[in-house]
């Protein structure tokens, strides 16, 4: 299988073809338009190594996320970054390449925080390995994390080693009625206390939080904060993560604004949903991309055109030229012939 992939890469490099990386296609909507011959890695699948006491799992990139999550839950463990699937067959490779994390992200960490090592093919068709199966490793540059979120533009992920964590003993979600500004203040001030927060979400006058930990700890925290218990909260958080909640049904372009958690309520017109303790703001708006990006930048953050809209404006927040130049040189180092996912990240490469 790997040899076939290598041959395809070498053929593409020799014939100036471009390759469009694909797992299950669940995240094809994200990033710039795909160009080129579909390069399917979904068949390269299977869990390679998992020893629960090591807190490390290694799997091939085509392995479905559900298969991994199922095995982990049998051993009372989980992917703590709670990845969105966006489709029934979402793969580990797509999860790592997109770099997207779910509701637990500000409290446990992002995908990149759990990636320990990768096996990959570069644009010359070389099989390379970086990082490993251990949690502390500072030998060489951190290529594993560089690959995370690179949207298949640097190489083909073959396998990934991830740190995993135990499932919390119990979880409980609480709801509070409050406006956006009050919600931002509460999420931040609760994070300043030693509370077992594991997810936060505000939308339409309702702040919902999740706490996880041992039974008595959760009860004590509930006593401290009050709030109304949320029934069937697993479904609530899954629908936020998978963007299946009613908020996500709008036909307008969906913008993802990554801002400092304390940023005041953002100006652009349109419905907003806040996650990540205030650090992530989802916005449906047909305001001009410039206006939205300026609002995000003024708050100290960035705006991504997540779904819909006109991608010609650039999906990701533009970079200063000196940073873009470094990124372009890094891309060239991994993929000298420019065959992998051209323009998926930035128009320039």
């Amino acid at each position: 299988m790997i040899n076939e992939l290598i041959e395809k890469i070498q053929h593409a490099a020799a014939h100036s073809q471009t390759l469009a990386m694909s797992g299950s296609g669940s995240k094809a909507f994200y990033g710039g338009e795909l160009h080129g011959i579909t390069f399917d890695v979904a068949a390269h699948r299977g869990i390679v190594d998992y020893t629960p006491t090591e807190l490390v799992l290694t799997a091939r990139s085509g392995t479905p996320l559900v298969e991994i999550e199922q095995l982990l839950s049998e051993h009372n463990q989980m992917l703590a970054f709670e990845p969105p699937h966006f489709g029934p067959y979402a793969t580990l490779g797509g999860c790592v390449a997109s770099g997207l994390s779910g509701p637990r992200r500000p409290y446990s960490g992002a995908v990149r925080d759990f990636v320990l090592g990768v096996g990959m093919l570069d644009g010359r068709g070389q099989h390379l390995k970086f990082g490993g199966q251990v949690m502390k490793n500072v030998a060489g540059y951190d290529v594993s994390r560089l690959m995370t979120g690179s949207l298949g533009t640097l190489g083909v992920l073959l396998d990934v080693s991830l740190k995993v964590l135990p499932l919390p003993a119990t979880a409980l979600s609480l709801r509070f009625a409050c406006d956006q500004q009050a919600a931002i203040q509460r999420m931040n001030s609760w994070s300043r206390q030693a509370l077992p927060l594991s997810a936060t979400c505000w939308e339409n006058g309702q702040l919902t939080i999740r706490m996880e930990g041992t039974q008595r700890a959760i009860q004590a925290a509930h006593g401290k904060l009050g709030g109304e218990l949320v029934a069937n909260d697993m479904a609530f958080w899954r629908d936020i993560r998978e963007q299946r909640a009613a908020f996500f049904l709008s036909p307008l372009p969906l913008w993802r604004l990554s801002v400092p958690s304390t940023a005041a309520a953002l100006k652009p017109e349109g419905p907003q949903l806040i996650e990540w303790g205030g650090a992530l703001r989802w916005l449906y708006s047909d305001s001009s991309p410039g206006e939205i990006r300026n609002a995000a930048a003024a708050a100290g953050g960035q705006a991504t055109l997540f779904r819909g809209g006109d991608k010609r404006c650039g999906v990701f927040h533009p970079l200063p030229s000196a940073l873009l130049a470094i990124q372009r040189r890094i891309k060239h180092n991994f993929d000298p012939h420019g065959i992998f996912n051209p323009c998926r990240l930035f128009h320039e490469f």
Binding site: T51, T53, N76, G99, R105, R112, R124, L128, G132, V134, M135, K136, N137, V138, A139, G140, Y141, D142, V143, R145, L146, G149, P166, L167, A169, N188, S191, R192, A194, L195, P196, G213, T214, Q215, R216, A217, A220, S258, P260, S261, W276, A279, G300, G301, Q302, T304, F316, H317, P318, L319, P320, A322, L323, I326, R329, I330, N333, F334, L345, F346
Partner: protein, 483 residues
Amino acid sequence: MNADFLDLLRATLPKHAMLIEPEDLHPYECDGLSAYRQLPLAVCLPETEAQAQQILKLCYRHAVPVVARGAGTGLSGGALPLSHGVILSLARFKQIIAIDAEARTARLQPGVRNLAISEAAAQYGLYYAPDPSSQIACTIGGNVAENSGGVHCLKYGLTVHNLLRLRVITIEGEILEIGNAALDSAGYDLLALLTGSEGMLAVITEVTVKLLAKPERAQVILAAFDDVQKAGQAVGDIISAGIIPAGLEMMDTLAIQAAEDFVHAGYPRDAAAILLCELDGLNEEVSEQMLQLHDILQSSGATSLRTAVDEAERLKFWAGRKAAFPAVGRLSPDYYCMDGTIPRRKLPDVLQRISELSAEYGLRVANVFHAGDGNLHPLILYDANIPGELERTEEFGGKILELCVAAGGTITGEHGVGIEKIDQMCSQFTAPELALFHGIKQAWDETRLLNPGKAVPELHRCAELGAMHVHGGQLKHPELPRF
């Protein structure tokens, strides 16, 4: 050329910000790895970012190599000077620029000491989680350059997990902002790439870190074992029970005795191994998990269990561990600290092999182990005044690192490659992987002036070293320069 360059450098900097006399240069001849020493051409101690930028531009124009330096506590020779290069010390960048308690962040100049961050944040009930043992002295800029860990990594992560933003200067003098005060930013993860890059890509002038709420309670338990293997098994049992301790440390007999004789931490001198296991969090959570932990340790065969009765005793238990290196230093004129990481389940095999090698080389080894995350610090005791003993120690150390790689681990968990482990990089990475690393460096520093010769070996050097493994550690071409 040197004289011209130094004149220009002198014109750029205030008089007190530049050292060129040999007696002034001596304090900079090595970092924490004192076996390697070299005087630099000059030491620059800029006080402003603009001065640092001028120095880099000048060095770039004159093709003079630059080695950035923080507190000089690194253990891998990463800040070892080059004879024809400049040391760029960030020691005067000492300001805590701002602490934003509401957002739980701190903006720091790179010369701020690690411990000073938590001290300044304490008034807000916050702290900075990564706590390398050298935290009294080491600086945040160096922590970023090395991706430093500490004893709380398993639960709270390394430096890379606790950073938001860096401000850096490239060798060409360009100032860049990497990351921001939000949780992610567009493009490749350059924040991760710079973390642990050992001063090879850019010079850091500002760091924004995340702060965490201080846990309501922390409680430590000291478990003694009559067998190292049982202690290793206990670690697996704790993790299997779904407990992630804030700290989980193991020490073997020699390390226990050294620490006990040095700081009187209350360690059992006759134990084959001890585990220090700390839980933190909400009061109720710690109470529940302490009961569970007690049961687990008892059934894994602990011969004695002691819970610290108060904060003073908790700190005393930790004082022994944090002083383990200097304590071992008292047993012998010199010691050599290794830093491999292994999958935890391989611990008994690796310790067994280390003890065989110890007998073979006739050199004693004390083992200190970050058991939670698999990071092993064997300390080899030697005497540099005995001719050939340093060389034998380094050879022994190299074998330990190769053993770690063979066990599925790595040659360095947290101390960095620097100059010390440059040869072992050849056994961990293939030529195409090393070539890719060189390409990454060149994307930032095309003429290779930032800390050249460190962290990533030249391919021809690895090719020459290919013989090393065949010939049992005898360098085939000893006349080749080491770096």
